[in-house]
Each structure stands twice: as C-alpha cells, then as structure tokens.
C-alpha cells in the first residue's frame, strides 16, 4: 500500500489491460521497463541479476528519501498536478505491489536460471492476498505509511534518473495525504491515520512472534547441554581422582591388604561404576559436540593436528571403553564374599590376579579423564558444532558450488 503518485514508469511499453498515464519527466526513458526485456539478464546470467537486484534494493531507500527535496527545488510551481496525481495513483499502486513482491520473492527463483514470469503474473493477479509469506512485505508498507505531514508533497514531481540494471518498474515513493486501497478491483481513498493504526497493531503482533525462533530454541538447548557438559568434565575428573585415592588407601601399602579393600569397597564398587558411566557418557557427548564429531573428516584432521579438544574427545572415548570393560570385575567385587563362604566367587589367591589389572585400569581411566579435563580447559570456549551447525551450510561445499557455477 504504497502511495506513489509520480511517474508513469511503463510508458514506453504499456500493459494490455490498463493504459498508463503520460510521463511527467524525460528522465524515465532511460529505465528499461518492459517484462520481456527484464527476463534477458536473469536467464542469461543469474548471478549478475542477483547482484543487480541487490543493488537496486539497496539503492532504493536512499533515492526515495532524497527525491522529495530534490524535486521541490526543481519544480516549485507544482500544485496544479495534484488532481491528476490522484487519478493516476491506482495504477502506480498496482505496479508498486508487483515490483515489491517480485523483488522479494523471485530473488531465489531466478538464481538458478528458472523463468520467473509465471510468479510475477500470479502476484499481479492477487496483489492483496494476505498470506504468511507476504507478511514482511506488508510490514514494510506499514512502516512507509508513517509519514510526517510536512513530507507530504503536493507539487509536481520529476523523479531522478534511475540507473537500473534490473528492469523492474521502480517508481519513486512520494507521500500524499491519502492512501489508495484496492477494494473489489477499484482503488478507494482511505485516510492515512486509520491505516497506520491498523497496521501498527499488525506490526506489534508480528514483532512478538519471530523474536524466539526454532533456531534460537535449538541454540539455547545446545548451550545448556554444553554447560552441563562443562560441569560433568570437572565433576568426573574429581570423582575419578577421589576413587583412585580411596582404592589405594584401602589397599594399603604396596597393595598388601586386598581383602580389606574388597570388604570395604564392595558397597561402593557398583554405584561408582554406574556414576562413572553416566559422567563419562555426558562428557564424551559434550566433547564430541565441541569438535563436531559427526563431520568425521574435520574431527580426524583436528585429531592429527593435535588439537586439544579433539585429543580430549579421543581420551574420553578410550576411558569410556576401558571403564566399561571392567563391568564384569565390578560386579564380581559387588558380589564379594570371603573365600571361606560356600559358593564364593573369590577363591583364595584369585584376589590379586583380578584386582591388580582392575586397579591399573582405574588408574589409567583417572589419568585419561584428568588429562581430558586439562585439555578441554585449555580452550573452554571452543565449540565447532555451534559454528558449523548454526552457520550457513552454503559454505560447506565451496568447491562443488564453484564447479556447478562453472558448468552452468
């Protein structure tokens, strides 16, 4: 709903259904406007058309803001034209709809060289359809309705020259007192202030919604898990150290008092094994997250480059495997009964054979976990998953993309 009283941009190539008013300025001749011409640069060179589109899109706001001042200076006697402007408005309004919508929606369709003509026609036929996809465009119009009264120009306007590579009919925005809204195929004048109120309400409700997108939810969950992981790294290292200290203290000097260790430790063995698995699983997943383990090549490259985080993930996984391999021994300790008891799993002399490797494995697990913690704390902020997952995937395959462009 943009009020554009000014130039009849398509004067050189009028549309069949509606005749356009004459051009008030000669500068419009430079702008190629007809649709058949518009297709050429897009189909031949898609990237160029995209750039052109971006240029015009970027240029338009500044031009439209400068235009009224410039035109005031050039045409001080303009009030005569006011009536004519009102009669011309509907047509310009219509074209401004088409150009806005096509510029926003056909951006992606054109980049692969796909013909955008059917889309444009569809948009022309249904300029006022309020779908969800059209909401950003509507918001833009709503913003443009909020014009101060001093800016409303009643003079004759001659739009400045528009050096446009892109051939969409780019009219120059110029506020008038009324806004013309299409109702049942006819444009009717509506009061600007009423429309501003309604669109502001719409604006408010739309501003609330996109403030928290699914991506934000995913990102916050990811960061929460990273925080949990950070906690588990430290807690695991502390637990493992405490465990190995307890084992060595209970085992006595030179591991001479193993039966005492078994008797004291049997209630602790299985709960600690379970806790160790829980913490190791959390820490391993967290470390994998940090190196983005799913991208195996990157992870392996980082590992061979002796990246501390990649090393920590490897050490955690090794510790997890070692710890799990002691499940049988842990259960055996859990079910400990002295060898004198009937049906005991611990025959005389077996204690040393079983417990020595178990203690060594526990020591190694403690060392691995401690080392991993140190490695991770060397670069605590590193998180490749967040960088790779939530950044643009378009950059994932730069070589292939250039290959496609070259072949097409």
């Amino acid at each position: 709903m943009r009020a554009e009283p000014g130039p009849g941009l398509e004067v050189g190539h009028p549309h069949p259904p509606r005749a356009l008013p004459p051009v008030p300025s000669a500068t419009q001749d430079d702008i190629p406007l007809s649709r058949p011409k518009k297709k050429k640069p897009r189909t031949k060179n898609p990237p160029a058309s995209l750039e052109g589109l971006a240029q015009t899109a970027a240029r338009r706001p500044s031009e439209s803001s400068e235009a009224p001042i410039k035109e005031l200076q050039e045409h001080p006697e303009a009030p005569v034209q006011r009536r004519q402007k009102k009669t011309r408005l509907p047509l310009e309004l219509d074209t401004s709809f088409t150009q806005k919508k096509t510029s926003s929606s056909s951006l992606l369709r054109n980049e692969n060289g796909i013909d955008a003509e059917p889309d444009e026609e569809a948009v022309v036929q249904k300029p006022r359809r309020k779908t969800k996809k059209a909401q950003p465009v509507e918001v833009q119009y709503a913003n443009e309705l909020g014009v101060e009264d001093e800016d409303v120009i009643t003079d004759e306007q001659s739009p400045p020259e528009q050096p446009s590579v892109f051939t969409a009919p780019t009219g120059i925005s110029q506020p008038v007192g009324k806004v013309f809204v299409e109702k049942s195929r006819r444009f009717q004048a509506a009061d600007r202030s009423v429309l501003i109120k309604t669109t502001e309400n719409l604006d408010m409700s739309m501003d609330m919604k996109p403030s928290w997108t699914t991506r934000d939810v995913a990102l916050s969950v990811h960061r929460t898990f990273r925080m949990i992981g950070l906690f588990s790294h430290g807690f695991l290292a502390g637990c493992a150290v405490w465990n190995i200290v307890v084992i060595y203290v209970l085992a006595g000097d030179q591991l001479s008092n193993l039966s005492n260790l078994l008797q004291q430790y049997k209630t602790l063995a299985y709960p600690f094994q379970s806790l160790l698995y829980l913490l190791l699983a959390l820490s391993t997943v967290s470390a994998f997250d940090r190196i983005d383990f799913a991208k195996t090549l990157v992870a392996i490259r980082n590992f061979f480059a002796l990246d501390p985080t990649a090393l920590a993930s490897f050490l955690y996984f090794t510790a997890l495997t070692l710890s799990l391999s002691q499940q049988m021994t842990s259960d055996r300790i859990h079910l400990y009964t002295p060898s004198s008891v009937n049906g005991s799993l611990w025959a005389a002399g077996v204690e040393e054979q079983t417990l020595h490797p178990w203690i060594v494995v526990n020591l190694v697990v403690t060392l691995l976990v401690g080392l991993s913690w140190i490695f991770l704390s060397y670069r605590p902020g590193m998180d490749l998953s967040e960088e790779l997952m939530f950044s643009s995937d378009v950059e994932e395959y730069p070589d292939k993309d250039t290959g496609i462009k070259a072949s097409s």
């Binding site: 699914t214 991506r215 939810v217 990811h222 379970s274 799990l324 049988m328 643009s392 995937d393 496609i404």
Partner: protein, 162 residues
C-alpha cells in the same frame, strides 16, 4: 513452517526419552532387587528408543526438504543418526533379552561371560554415540532452512541431481 512452541515441545520429549535411556543404561545394574524391575525398565527403554525413532522420522516428514521429494538429501545428511539408532536398538534388545534370560531366576547371581561382556561394551558405546547423533539431529532440525525454500536447498538439490 515449524512453530516454535511445537518444536520446543517435541525437543523436550526427545530429551526426556534420551535422559531416560541414559539413566537406565547407567543405573539398571543397581536396580535389580527383583528381576521384574529390570524387565520393566528394559521394556520402557526399548520403547523409548522406538518412540525416538518415530519422532525423528515424523520430524523428517515435516521438513520442506522431504515434502519437496528430496528424501535422499535428508538421508545423506542424517544417515549416521538413522543407522546408529537402528544398530543401538538391535544391540539393546539383544542385550536385554540375554541378561533377563540369565537373571530371571536369581537377579543377584553372577552371570557374566566374555560374550555378554563384549555385547555389554558395544551396547553402551553405541548408546553414547546414539545419544550424541540423536541430540545433534534433533537440534539441527530446528534450523528454519529445512522448512522453507532457500538458496542453500537449491544448491543441495543441484548436487543431488548431479
């Protein structure tokens, strides 16, 4: 387009099921006062994994990529998750059947053999990998690019066609 509330709800459910899985893997060996307790825990655990598989596939079906017919693209992106989840479910069911079979008469007996120990290690390792890949996929499916036409999708489509 995926609604934020719906996605939050689904993500919460997925994480709840993952947490339950992790909890049972960690503490099921402790909770064996009666064999039926373990049996119930294991059954719920396997159903939870199945539920998670169903949820992730429903999320796949909801994406624009899938609705546009680019199933192979989705499979290529998430094949690690799909394969690992299937493998993990297979490991889990077989381990649970084996352990319950051995412990049904006496839940506090020593049942470990080398084979069981090996299966146990593989199942627990697969559980960690499943947790990582599943979590990553669930978080990744919150990316709005999977739910709309985009430059990225068109480039991916070009690669698939080649």
């Amino acid at each position: 387009m995926l609604q934020t509330n719906n996605y939050s709800l689904v993500l919460a459910l997925q994480f709840l099921l993952l947490s339950y899985d992790l909890f049972v893997n960690s503490f099921s060996e402790l909770l064996r006062m009666a064999p039926v307790i373990q049996l119930v825990l294991f059954i719920i655990q396997d159903i939870a994994v199945l539920f998670n598989i169903i949820i992730i596939f429903l999320m796949f079906f909801n994406t624009f990529v899938f609705q546009a017919g680019l199933v192979s693209l989705l499979f290529r992106k998430f094949k690690g998750t799909i394969i690992l989840t299937a493998v993990y479910l297979a490991f889990s069911i077989s381990l649970h059947v084996w352990i319950m079979n051995l412990r049904w008469k006496d839940s506090n007996s020593f049942v470990w053999t080398d084979g069981l120990q090996t299966l146990f290690v593989f199942q627990r390792l697969a559980a960690v990998l499943y947790c990582y890949f599943y979590k990553r996929t669930a978080v990744r499916l919150g990316d709005p690019r999977f739910y709309q036409d985009s430059l990225w999708l068109r480039k991916e489509f070009m690669q698939v066609r080649r």
